[in-house]
Structures are given as structure tokens and as C-alpha cells.
């Protein structure tokens, strides 16, 4: 098979093995991906920036290491990086006009770790502006399109990373997940997306949306690939005080364990009216598959899930309002030409530099924190967060994993004309709890709707149980026949 053909379906694991086997060089592989990625970008708009010249240089260096027998797992493999993760000397825009010309002076820790393994940074992927959204339509650089249906949304905010993997513009990508931003686009684009335990991956260099919820995650064709990429980026980082050492050194240590004897909980609140029949059916079918593989399926309950979306939006918007205050046009970012005074210039810079959704979140966040509303909103949300954490802890006293839909529906049409803001926000119901509780979660395809659009299911485990989470997703993937996107 030609390299051009091979990359359409190859997993990260396969490419890593073949590079070490010298079936082809990293330069050849990188060039093949660049060619395909650039060509398909006309359709998907998954990338904002290609790292062409540097990528080929990195590939050459990787080839030298492979030749010397010094290759590590990711040496020479092309990886795409979401455009809110800082890359030294490579534009990092957060898909915002505000940072259109922003070139970081340092690498995010995850990028540094990829570089240390001599992985090849292929380019920077498109996203919702500042990671705020679930369609990747709020990007200043235009919407990402779903490889399964170019008239449908990719999901978001890591829509570019999801679409790029689905369209085989790259074998794997980094995303970030604040309320479902890795898992939801993974579900819409029919790939696997892993959000690790909060603190398992350093946030240093991730341009913050909501610091207490943000977590960098991995996106690929399989759960195993997600684990391979996680292994490369996880761990305590002295540059991020909130990062922690993982109790496991290899997230794939249980990959072949299967699910025999595991107790998988189906929280009934995740299967309410808001969830479409097609999605419900597919997830129940997956539960059946797990049962057949030897898992015990039990019904569990998360009584306060009804508060989760509001609590999530209040906390994330409050933190976002504060995190995004630094963008005033003075130190970096878009500076308005209009205005005489500091006050005028920063107001104009922010008003011109931020898109509508970002402005709404800032307004909401400042509302939740402002005098007179703090107790009713922000403080309430913090209490709900604690309660939900407690309820999740309770579930994991009797269950190993919980299984839920990733999204209430499959991907919808671009433009979302019929969708109100509350409808779009409410659709985060299935994913936000993992962020609120800081737990790891993985989304993997479990079916296709009548139109052939992928359906995703999510597994959630207790903190730092990624090895069993990845193993469970992997076990299902082995039983599930995945349909590739046709482009």
C-alpha cells in the first residue's frame, strides 16, 4: 500500500511501529500528511496554521534518531496541536482576531514534551474562539466542517483537532477540554477523545479559558492511540502548581484487561428526554456489548445533574472573564487604532478583538461575580460543584465506570439557525460533570445515525483511573465496526 493510502486509516501505534521498522521515513510520512492535510483543509478548515518548514526539519531530526536506534514511541510521528496551546515561534491564535498575530515566546509543557520525544508538530488546529463553544463556528478563521458531512458542524471547541483526525489530516491531535471540548467533537467526528483527570497534564502554555476546569486531552482514531499520546504529555510539571504526578507510569498498562468483572453504571439522569432516541439506543446497545464481555451493568443516579450545566457555565464564565481581562491590546494582541485614552483604547481593542460568544461569556462571568449577584450565582455554582463531586464519589464507591451518551444528538447543520443559545448550552449536559468533578472521561464511537453521522458514548472513571478507562474503551472498539469518513 502506498503511504498516501496507508495514512488514510493508519493508527498512531501502527505509524510508530512502521517508522521504527524503517518502512518509511518521518520526512516521507510528514510530507504525505502535510500534502493531504493542506489539500483537505479546503474542505474541513481543520487547521489554522501549518508548521510546514519546521515540521520537515523536525522529521529529519527524528529520522536521524531512528537511524541511531534512539527512537521513542512518538519519534517522527506527526501530531496536530490545538491553537490555544502555546508553540514557541509558531502562531497561536486561540482562533481569535485578538491573537491573530500572536507568536508565543515559549512552548507549552505538552509541546515541549512532544518535542523531547521528537514528535513532529504538523500544525495548529482550528477551534471555537478561546475554546468557548461546541461547534467550532465561533472561530475568527471560519467554521470547521465535519468530515462525515461537510455541511454539519464538527463540534467544539476542539473541532479542528477532531476533524483533522477524522479526515486523516493527522494521525492524532491535542485538544483541550473545559466542559466537553475534546469529547463532544470526538463524538461528532467519529473519533476517540480522552479528557484526563484534572491535573494529570500540565496546563502551562495552555491559554486559559477556565483554569479550574481546563484540561489538555488527546484525540485519535483509537483509545489506545489516545493513551499513547497521553503517556507522552502527562505528569507533574514544576511550571504548573496545579499539576500532579499520575499514580501510573503507563496509561496502557491495562489495555488488554477487558471489562470482565467490572461494574459499569448507567446514571439514569443521562438518558432523559433531552437525549435523542438514536443516541440512547446506540449507548444501550454498547452497554449490552459490555455485558456480553463480562461486565456488570447497573443503574446509578446523579440526582443533582440538573444543576450541572448552569454551574458549569457560571464557574467557567467567571474564570474566563478574569482570564481574558489581560487582553487589552497593550502587552500583546489586537490593539485598536481608535481612541485617545487608555480606557478608550482597551475597550475598543477588546470590542474589536473578541467575537460575540466570547463577549457573552465575559458578560456572564462578570455578572456571576459582581457585587449583589455573587452569592446567587458564582457561590451557588461552587457549592453545586462540591455536591456533584460528592455524588460522583458515591457512585464510584460501587462502580468502576459510568457509561453515558457524549452528546444528546449527532452533529447538526452549520449555521445552527434553529438552535437557541440555551439549547446549545444545554447540550453540554453529558460532558460537563467530568470537568466539574475533575474526573477522566473518554468518548468513543458507538453507532451511526440514519444520516450516517457518528454517535459517541462516554466512559467516566474515578480520578487517575485512566488505565482502566482506556482499557474499557479499547475493549469496546475491538467489538465495534467503525466507518471512516469519506472525503
Amino acid at each position: 500500500m502506498s503511504l498516501k493510502e496507508l495514512i488514510k486509516t493508519a493508527t498512531l501505534k501502527e505509524l510508530s511501529n512502521r517508522l521504527k521498522n524503517k518502512d518509511f521515513s518521518s520526512v516521507e510520512l510528514t510530507a504525505a500528511y502535510l500534502e493531504r492535510a493542506k489539500e483537505l483543509n479546503q474542505k474541513t478548515n481543520a487547521f489554522i496554521t501549518f508548521n510546514e518548514a519546521e515540521a520537515l526539519k523536525e522529521a529529519k531530526k527524528a529520522d536521524e534518531q531512528i537511524a541511531k536506534g534512539e527512537a521513542q514511541t512518538l519519534t517522527g510521528t506527526p501530531i496536530a496541536v490545538k491553537d490555544n496551546i502555546s508553540t514557541k515561534n509558531l502562531k497561536t491564535t486561540c482562533a481569535s482576531k485578538m491573537l491573530e498575530n500572536n507568536t508565543p515566546i515559549f512552548d507549552a509543557t505538552v509541546v515541549l514534551k512532544l518535542k523531547e520525544q521528537s514528535a513532529v508538530i504538523l500544525g495548529k488546529t482550528n477551534m471555537d474562539e478561546f475554546a468557548m463553544g461546541s461547534t467550532s463556528e465561533t472561530s475568527y478563521f471560519g467554521a470547521v466542517r465535519n468530515p462525515y458531512d461537510l455541511s454539519a458542524v464538527s463540534g467544539g471547541s476542539s473541532g479542528g483537532s477532531a476533524a483533522a483526525v477524522a479526515a486523516a489530516q493527522c494521525p492524532a491531535a491535542l485538544g483541550s477540554d473545559t466542559g466537553g471540548s475534546v469529547r463532544q467533537p470526538a463524538a461528532f467526528c467519529g473519533i476517540t477523545g480522552l479528557k484526563p483527570t484534572y491535573s494529570a497534564v500540565s496546563r502551562y502554555g495552555l491559554i486559559a479559558f477556565a483554569s479550574s476546569l481546563d484540561q489538555i486531552g488527546t484525540m485519535a482514531k483509537t483509545a489506545e492511540d489516545c493513551g499513547i499520546l497521553l503517556n507522552a504529555i502527562m505528569g507533574k510539571d514544576n511550571l504548573d502548581a496545579t499539576s500532579a504526578a499520575t499514580p501510573f507510569s503507563d496509561s496502557l498498562s491495562e489495555i488488554n484487561r477487558g471489562v470482565k468483572g467490572l461494574k459499569i453504571g448507567l446514571p439514569k439522569e443521562f438518558f432523559g428526554d433531552a437525549i435523542s432516541e438514536e443516541v440512547k439506543v446506540a449507548v444501550f446497545k454498547a452497554a449490552e456489548t459490555y455485558k456480553n464481555m463480562g461486565a456488570e451493568i447497573v443503574e446509578v443516579s446523579l440526582p443533582d445533574l440538573k444543576y450541572a450545566v448552569a454551574a458549569y457555565y457560571l464557574i467557567s464564565s467567571a474564570e474566563a472573564a478574569s482570564n481574558l481581562s489581560r487582553f487589552d491590546g497593550i502587552k500583546y494582541g489586537h490593539r485598536s487604532e481608535i481612541g485617545e485614552t487608555y480606557e478608550e483604547v482597551i475597550k475598543n481593542s477588546r470590542s474589536e478583538g473578541f467575537g460575540k460568544e466570547v463577549k457573552r461569556r465575559i458578560m456572564l462571568g462578570n455578572y456571576a461575580l459582581s457585587s449583589g449577584y455573587y452569592d446567587a450565582y458564582y457561590n451557588k455554582a461552587v457549592k453545586i460543584r462540591q455536591k456533584l463531586r460528592f455524588e460522583m464519589d458515591e457512585i464510584f464507591k460501587s462502580c468502576d465506570l459510568i457509561l453515558t451518551p457524549t452528546t444528546p444528538t449527532t452533529a447538526y447543520k452549520l449555521g445552527a439557525g434553529d438552535k437557541t443559545l440555551t439549547k446549545i448550552y444545554s447540550a453540554d449536559i453529558c460532558t460537563v460533570t467530568a470537568n466539574i468533578a475533575g474526573l477522566p472521561a473518554i468518548s468513543t464511537p458507538c453507532g451511526y445515525d440514519a444520516a450516517g453521522l457518528p454517535i459517541g458514548m462516554s466512559l467516566v472513571s474515578k480520578a487517575f483511573a485512566e488505565p482502566s478507562l482506556i482499557a474499557a474503551a479499547n475493549a469496546f472498539e475491538k467489538q465495534f465496526e467503525r466507518r471512516g469518513a469519506v472525503l
Partner: protein, 92 residues
Amino acid sequence: MFDIKLSAHLAELSKLSFTETELYEVTKEMNEIVSLMDAVSDFTATEALNTAAAVGLDQIRADVKCDSTPRSEILKNAAKSEKNAFAVPKVV
């Protein structure tokens, strides 16, 4: 009720400027969003001090100097700099 006055106040806190039409539109949107947020109003629970995430003195950064970043790098992404400093329009 989320009215125009509140919108204008929040825009000021947010350092965002809206035209009158925009402000009207954003107020409408905020009303919609806040109605969703009002779901939290009937939640009642007392908050316990969460000390779980706390770290000890021995886990935090030691008081050892590191090199600062070259000034040219610090100023690199600034749209405007003058005399080795960030150029700030006059503060009134």
C-alpha cells in the same frame, strides 16, 4: 431581570463597548442565558471548606532566582512599545 442598565454596567466592568443596537441584542441574549443559569436558584447546600487540594510548604517553589526573559522577547508581541517599555495611552 436583566435589563439594559445591567448590561451597560457589565459592559463597563468587562471593558467592552457596544453600540445601542448591540447592547439591546446582547441584553436579549443575556436574558436567555441567565434564565438557564437561574436553574441554580433552588439548590440548597452548605459549603464545607475544601482543603483537599491544599499543598504543603515543602511542595512550593523554593526562593531561588531564575533568569528573567530578554526584554526584546517580553515586548515582542506588543503592538506598540517605546523606550524599552509598553506604550500606554494616557490614563485619565
